[in-house]
């Protein structure tokens, strides 16, 4: 696969323009992604756009300064969360809705992230729901308590972390069984169902230092190695300076 160089720059919204790299200039409109590049939910969107080779511009939102709760941002995302996107005069929020939109809009381009048949698409949806309802809450809570709160000078609730960890072990046992029967979550191809797990799992393994949950499970470990070595994800890690 040949990776076309893109015009990608990171715009701090309140200070002067900073261009990270300019390789090819194209005058067409790019998708603006509002949110910090290091945050999990914007990364879910960026990974999808990179897989689909869609030009984008990251507009930084300073969460530490509460920029996401200011009126200017609430107009884009009334719940005060990142990311939001602007594509011409079309706006969306909720990262999982955004990735579904772009995977559908560019279905004919790049890898098929949605599944081809109705049944394949249903299985992709099923595992997207599993991530949202059985996986994400546990991972989010653990990262909040182990990483985010301490960074803000507050103690994390280690009993809560332990309880989440125990529940996550059971959930991951189910993933392990699933991945012993199919190469990816929804079947034999990489889809949104796998992509949606990338940002949270990376945080879990790195900053939260819970990598053993992944590496101790043979099929999950192989799956993680595979999906995290995809060029689009590696490109995103570069952008995020991870």
């Amino acid at each position: 696969m040949c990776f076309r160089e893109k015009f990608v720059y990171i715009t701090p919204s309140k200070s002067s323009l900073k261009r990270a790299e300019i390789r090819s200039l194209n005058n067409k409109m790019v998708v603006k992604v509002f949110g910090p590049v290091h945050a999990a939910c914007p990364q879910r969107v960026l990974a999808c756009l990179l897989e689909k080779d869609v030009d984008f511009e990251i507009v930084h939102v300073n969460l530490d300064q509460g920029e996401h709760k200011q009126p200017d941002f609430l107009v884009r995302q009334p719940f005060g969360q990142v990311p939001a996107i602007e594509d011409g005069d079309f706006r969306l929020f909720e990262s999982r809705a955004i990735i579904r939109y772009y995977a559908a809009k560019y279905a004919e381009r790049g890898p098929n992230l949605l599944g081809k048949t109705l049944e394949e698409r249903a299985l992709v949806d099923q595992w997207l729901e599993v991530e949202a309802h059985n996986f994400n809450d546990l991972v989010y809570t653990m990262v909040l308590q182990l990483v985010v709160l301490p960074r803000m000078g507050q103690p994390g609730d280690l009993a809560l972390v332990h309880s989440c960890e125990q529940k996550l072990e059971k959930v991951l046992d189910i993933y392990e069984q699933r991945l012993s029967n199919s190469k990816y979550l929804a079947g034999e191809s990489f889809t949104l169902a796998d992509l949606t797990h990338l940002p949270g799992t990376r945080y879990l393994m790195n900053e939260a230092k819970m990598g053993h949950l992944i590496t101790e499970r043979k099929h999950i470990n192989a799956w993680w190695e595979d999906i995290s070595s995809r060029p689009a994800w590696k490109k995103l890690m570069n952008l995020a300076c991870f």
Binding site: P78, F79, F90, E94, R96, R100, Y101, D125, E129
Partner: protein, 217 residues
Amino acid sequence: MALKLYGAPMSTCTTRVMTCLHEKSVDFELVPVNLFAAEHKQPSFLAKNPFGQIPALEDNDLTLFESRAITSYVAEKFKEAGTDLLRHKDLKEAALVKVWLEVESQQFHPPMSSTVYQFFVAPIQGKTPDQAIIDANLVKLGQVLDVYETKLSSTKYLAGDFYSLADLHHLSYTYYFMKTPFASLINERPHVKVWWEDITSRPAFKKVAEGMKFGGD
């Protein structure tokens, strides 16, 4: 062969799917799963949903779980029948439906389901409702409903001026919520209240609501 839906007639997630099936006029068989006998944790059900949760759907040799994936599948498969729940002919409308499907799932569901759980389910399991949890979740729910109030003052339904799957997904949990003392959160927001009365008056939901009783009625 008709679709088989494994679940329970008073379950919020099972009824989410049933309402969708009725909106699409799709025949199905509800196969009861006895939660009190922990049937959903037994091997034969775990083979359908390894997470041990209802509902699960069987459509010939396709088995699905996660109610929101099932409704999406039904709405897509039968997109030419019944109510247009996904707005599939217009990519932008379809995307806006997806936004508000996610809003229900990510913003509305957590505080709503915690409250309904504390009020209805905990007592059945022999636990006392935790008022601190209820209070905290009501605050969050109020903030979410403030956003809904603003949105519903400019469009008739959540994704636009058309009823969609995004509105439907709110029905089951909110139906139980309205039986609690906290129903004022809906009733005191005029546009939310109008929207609620509209979506609960739809025949597809009224049919399903008949079976939604806790306490072994």
